[in-house]
Structures are given as structure tokens and as C-alpha cells.
């Protein structure tokens, strides 16, 4: 762990803490309350947190002066935007699609996309397995565990006729 990384993380933490400080000062007092007011505990926690961050910041700054400037050819940021962000984006697109087409079809697509991002290729991994797995998920979550399937805005279907007899048989 280099001092530079400590400096960056401490600075981000400090900004976050300041935002929370602002929110903590906005907490209203309870006019009829006895004992501690609602904002005391958050302010106490924030004060300790800020003190710790400042200690870390100071330590990192001192160390950074002794540390030789290293040409860190880090490609972490590139990896983050190239792989991590798309992975998170799949989650949101997937949920958006669930609201449009209900569960089954979006799950097949999302699984296929995730498998592709993780480097899987070919019909077996990108088509067959997502389809089979999505059907299995569908039966387990909505058939056996009886989760409520959201209504699709573009494609709407009722799974009662699919799972009703099975649920009766399994007594779930």
C-alpha cells in the first residue's frame, strides 16, 4: 500500500464524511424528547471518523514526502471502467427488462451477457446454458418459493397455470 493510495482513499473518505456532517447538522431536534437528541450519536461518530481520517491523511502525507515518486503504470482504472462498470450495468438493464418482459426472457439475456463478460464463448455457454438455467431459476424461485413475479409492461403472462398443479403437489 503506497502513501499515494492512502492519500487518495483518505481524501475520498473525508469528502464523504463532510457530506454526512452536513446531513447530520440538518437533523431536527426532538422538542419533547428526553435524554440524548437524535443528532448527538451521528455527530459523535462523525467526529471520531473525521479525526481518524485526518490522522491517516497526515501520516500518508508525511510518508509521501519520503517516498520517491513512482511511475505507477496502473491500469486499475481502465479495468474498472472496462469490466466492473459493465457488470454493474447488466444488473440495472436486467431489472429494467424484468419490468418490461417479466422474469424469464431477461434472465436468459442477462445470464448470457454475464457469461460473455466473464470470457465464456460458444452456443453452449451463451445460449443453451442461459436458457436451461433461467428455466430452472424460474421454477425454483417462482414455482417452489412462490415469489411474486413483477408484471411486464410489454409482455405479460400469468404463471399460476404453470405452477399451480406443481405447488399443490409439493404442498408449498
Amino acid at each position: 500500500m503506497t502513501a499515494r493510495r492512502d492519500l487518495i482513499s483518505a481524501a475520498v473518505m473525508l469528502v464523504t464524511t463532510l457530506i454526512f456532517f452536513w446531513a447530520a447538522f440538518e437533523i431536527e431536534d426532538d422538542p419533547f424528547g428526553v435524554g440524548m437528541q437524535p443528532n448527538v450519536f451521528p455527530l459523535a461518530v462523525l467526529s471520531i471518523l473525521t479525526a481518524l481520517i485526518l490522522i491517516m491523511l497526515a501520516g500518508a502525507a508525511i510518508q509521501a514526502r519520503h517516498e520517491k515518486a513512482q511511475a505507477e503504470k496502473s491500469n486499475e482504472l481502465k479495468i474498472f471502467f472496462l469490466w466492473v462498470i459493465p457488470m454493474a450495468a447488466i444488473a440495472f438493464i436486467y431489472l429494467g427488462l424484468i419490468n418490461l418482459f417479466q422474469y424469464l426472457l431477461p434472465t436468459m439475456l442477462a445470464l448470457s451477457a454475464c457469461l460473455a463478460i466473464f470470457g465464456n464463448r460458444g452456443i453452449k455457454w451463451l445460449v443453451v446454458i442461459p436458457v436451461v438455467a433461467a428455466i430452472l431459476y424460474y421454477v425454483i424461485f417462482f414455482g417452489i418459493f412462490r415469489l411474486l413475479e413483477p408484471t411486464g409492461m410489454l409482455l405479460e403472462y400469468d404463471n399460476f397455470y404453470l405452477f399451480g398443479p406443481m405447488q399443490k403437489f409439493l404442498r408449498v
Partner: protein, 504 residues
């Protein structure tokens, strides 16, 4: 014969589902532990949404057995592939993998499961016969003492877990801060909600758990492109029968080490936050220190496998003791179990032995069943588990885990907001790991935060002299001094180890 454990055994076996979930949990725990990168915490986090649909005993049993079995499961890839499945299996790898290279993986795995089961059994017995006894004393503690215990736990968790004191303490304070978002428990005034209505009920435990343990791990794995296609090769087994089983000679040589390591693991397990990773290395180091001339440390010493495994599994029962007697979890797995107690409306603390006797002892009985189950599975099936792990690459497991997490978190309240929170905490977990902050400290503090605030407010309501109440109670003073001593020792150790000017 009137010990409540018999009532617990009866409760467990009168519910077919609880027995089923104990065995299922053990199997999942073994597989999760044996899968490098998939920790027990991640597996439990994925199971917690499911626990909403189960009766309290089945839910608790399910989560508890996953944590217990995963602790042994981690040793399977450590021995077979030189890759620990869980952090606490790192010490097992040191002596276990050289044995595999000699074709003695059967011996190593069988010794690992024998030592694990022995250590775990001792620890579970201590939990069964000792926890209620300790609870009698802790039940007498009032809010000032409880708040002092919370403070000590925060200091220990923050300063002992992880590599850096300062980053550990920051992680702890962040956990507390995020746990108090929502309506004030007394006045119902919104606090730190940024005028977002969804935040008024607080940040849900399940999205946070799934985010920091599961999604962050997926982000780490996707960023680590090189490891995705890595294939694991099974080494060839020796044809000599003695190399594939634990002989009496092996057992006789390892018994003293196992006993000592079990004792160490149990004591370490009872300390909040220290955990199995520390226990296994302490026990391994001690076993190596008391070496004999014929020992082959570093080249595949079977006593090393026994020491590490006995220690890391003896933590799993012992770290439930502080959870049930003080309401403070000894590890992340215990914290997650605490979360399940809360989900099912059971208040953790010493009173639980009076209010939910049959459930608590039913849980302990499930712990015993889990030990027997994983011993049988591990003794005769570790090879098969190893072969399964070798065949399923990481690049296939994680997409399924990701999709399951999304559905699991969405199913809780049918809102997109929880998925957003999960992804946000996935990023938080990712950065915590990248910048070496402590996720266990963060999550334990997140779970304990509201309890600490409640204890503080109750203590101040009782007091006529404000905060001076903490200095009027001897037990509260003891715990505060303990916190000061712990942090002073850690700072001293850090200053001694690190070059001048290094932060944390």
C-alpha cells in the same frame, strides 16, 4: 439428564425440515468453502434472503451449518491445488500442498477433516455447556456496561482485524455511521436520509451483505482477468495404502498438537473479531515452535495440517458465545447469524437462553449434526469435491452467483432501490478490498451500531451525572480500560514492525 441440549436434540429431530436444512447447509458450506474466492460470508449472504421464507430454527440452522462446514471446506483446495478456499485455510496450505505433491493428498485431507471435526466438537461442547453459564453473569449487566462492551468490541474489531489499525478503525466507524441512517429510534426524526424516502427505514442488511461480500467479489474476479481461465489440475495419488489414510502413528503424533491448537482456537474464537485466520497461524506457529527432530516442517508435516485445521474449526463454535451472551459476534459468520436472529424477531443477548431455549439448543444440536455430516462427507468425499471444483472454472460460477444475488435482493421488497443499494455496496466492497480497508470490521460494526446507540441512550437516561455513569460502574471501567490496553498494544506492535512515517 435434564440439560436443555436434550430438548434441543428433540426439537431438531422433531422437525424434518430443520434436519434437511442442517444437511443442506453443511453440503453448501463444504462446496462454498472449497470454491476459491467464494467465502462462507458470501454463501451465507446469498442464503439470508431465503431464510425469510423458513421457520426460525430452519433459518438459523441453515446459516450456522454453512459457516461451520465452510471452515473445513476451505482446506480442500488448499491441500489439493495450493489455493486456500477460505482465508483461514492459508496455514493448512503450507504443509498440506507439499503432501499432495508427494501423492499423499488422501492422508492430508483425512487428517484435515479429523482435526477439524475434533476441534469443532470441543468448541461446540463448550458452547453447549458453557454459554448459558456465562449468560447468567452477562444478564446482570446494565446499559452502561453493555455500551462499554460495545466500545471494546469496536476497538478490538477495528484494530485487530486487517493489516492497519487506522484503516480498521475507519472501517468500523463507517459501519456504525451507515447503520444509523433512517428514522431515529426514539423521536422518529429522519437522520442522514438525504430526503430519500427509501432510506427512512434504514439501509437493509441483506443488500449490504450481498453487496460487500458477493458483488464486490464478483467485481474483483472480473477485474482479475488472468485468474478467470485458470485451470486446476489434480495431482496423481500414491499407490501405497498408508499414504491415503491417517494411520495410528499419524494420529498419535498429531494428538498433542491438535489438543493444544483446539484450546488456542477456542480462546481466540471467543474474542470478538480476531477470528479463524489468526487462530490457524497462531496454532501453526506454536506447533512448529515445539518441533521434534523427526518432524519435516515445510516439506509436508502432517502435524502442521492437524494444528491449523483443529485451530480454525475450534473457532466456529466459540465465536457464537459472545454473540449469545453479550449480543456481540465473534466473527463475520456469527454477525450474519445474528442478522438471522433479528430477521426472525429474536433478540440476541443473555436472555435468549430463557426466552428461546428450545430454538437455541436446537441450533447447537444442529451444530453437532453438522460436524458428523461434514466429517463423513469430508473423510470419504473430499476427493470428489476436489474433482468437482477442478472441473468448474471461476468464469462459470460467478455469472450465476451474480444473477442469483440480483433476484434474491429484488425478491425481498420487490424494489429496484435494494438492487441499487446492493450494487453501490458492491463498489464499496471493491474499493475496501483494493485500498486495504477491513470489510469484516465494517460489516460487524454495521450490525452492532444500532445496539450500541440504544445502550448509550439508555445509559444516559439512567444517569444523573451524564457520561460519568461509565466511570461509576466497575465493569464498565474494566471494559473501557481493556479497549485502551488493546489499542495501545496494537499501536506499540505496529510502531515496532513498521518503518518510521508509515501510516497506520
Amino acid at each position: 439428564m435434564d440439560h436443555p441440549i436434550f430438548e434441543g436434540i428433540a426439537t431438531l429431530f422433531s422437525s424434518g425440515w430443520a434436519v434437511f436444512y442442517a444437511i443442506l447447509g453443511t453440503t453448501i458450506g463444504l462446496l462454498a468453502g472449497a470454491t476459491p474466492g467464494l467465502t462462507a460470508s458470501a454463501a451465507i449472504s446469498m442464503i439470508i434472503p431465503l431464510s425469510f421464507y423458513l421457520d426460525p430454527l430452519s433459518a438459523l440452522v441453515f446459516v450456522y451449518t454453512i459457516g461451520k462446514a465452510a471452515s473445513f471446506g476451505g482446506s480442500i483446495p488448499a491441500i489439493l491445488f495450493n489455493t486456500p478456499g477460505t482465508p483461514q485455510a492459508s496455514a493448512t496450505q503450507i504443509e498440506g500442498y507439499p503432501l499432495t505433491r508427494q501423492g499423499k493428498q488422501g492422508k492430508a485431507l483425512k487428517m484435515a477433516v479429523t482435526a477439524s471435526a475434533a476441534g469443532d466438537f470441543f468448541s461446540e461442547c463448550l458452547l453447549i455447556f458453557g454459554a448459558a453459564f456465562i449468560a447468567i453473569y452477562t444478564a446482570r449487566m446494565g446499559p452502561p456496561e453493555i455500551f462499554a462492551v460495545y466500545c471494546t468490541a469496536f476497538v478490538i474489531i477495528g484494530s485487530v482485524i486487517g493489516n492497519s489499525i487506522i484503516r480498521g478503525l475507519i472501517s468500523t466507524m463507517l459501519g456504525i455511521l451507515l447503520s444509523i441512517i433512517g428514522l431515529d429510534p426514539i423521536s422518529s426524526m429522519p437522520r442522514l436520509t438525504f430526503e430519500v424516502n427509501y432510506l427512512e427505514t434504514g439501509i437493509g442488511l441483506v443488500p449490504v451483505l450481498l453487496g460487500v461480500f458477493v458483488v464486490s467479489e464478483i467485481f474483483i474476479q472480473i477485474a482479475d482477468r488472468g485468474a478467470l481461465g485458470a485451470e486446476r489440475m489434480l495431482s496423481k495419488k500414491s499407490d501405497v495404502p498408508e499414504d491415503n489414510r491417517v494411520t495410528w502413528r499419524d494420529l498419535r503424533r498429531s494428538l498433542p498438537v491438535m489438543a493444544k491448537s483446539t484450546g488456542m482456537g477456542t480462546i481466540i474464537g471467543m474474542l470478538p473479531g480476531v477470528g479463524a485466520s489468526a487462530a490457524c497461524f497462531v496454532a501453526y506457529a506454536e506447533a512448529k515452535r515445539s518441533r521434534k527432530p523427526e518432524d519435516k516442517w515445510g516439506e509436508g508435516e502432517i502435524k502442521g495440517v492437524a494444528a491449523a485445521e483443529a485451530a480454525n474449526n475450534s473457532v466456529s463454535g466459540a465465536n457464537i458465545i459472545p454473540l449469545l451472551t453479550l449480543g456481540i459476534p465473534g466473527s463475520v459468520s456469527a454477525a450474519l447469524l445474528g442478522g438471522v436472529f433479528l430477521i426472525h424477531g429474536m433478540n440476541i443477548g443473555p436472555k435468549i437462553f430463557e426466552t428461546d431455549t428450545s430454538t437455541i439448543y436446537g441450533l447447537f444440536a444442529a451444530g453437532l449434526l453438522c460436524i458428523v455430516t461434514y466429517f463423513i462427507m469430508g473423510y470419504w468425499g473430499s476427493d470428489i469435491i476436489g474433482r468437482i471444483i477442478a472441473k468448474v472454472p471461476v468464469r462459470v460460477i460467478y455469472p450465476f452467483i451474480f444473477i442469483t444475488s440480483i433476484v434474491a435482493v429484488y425478491a425481498l421488497r420487490n424494489t429496484l432501490f435494494d438492487v441499487m443499494v446492493m450494487c453501490l455496496f458492491g463498489f464499496v466492497g471493491y474499493f475496501f478490498k483494493k485500498f486495504d480497508y477491513s470489510l469484516p470490521a465494517f460489516i460487524i460494526a454495521f450490525i452492532l451500531g444500532p445496539g450500541a446507540e440504544r445502550a448509550l441512550r439508555q445509559a444516559l437516561l439512567l444517569s444523573e451525572d451524564g457520561p460519568m455513569i461509565f466511570l461509576e460502574r466497575p465493569l464498565a471501567i474494566f471494559f473501557i480500560l481493556l479497549a485502551v490496553v488493546v489499542i495501545s498494544v496494537r499501536i506499540y506492535q505496529t510502531i515496532k514492525q513498521k518503518p518510521q512515517g508509515a501510516p497506520g
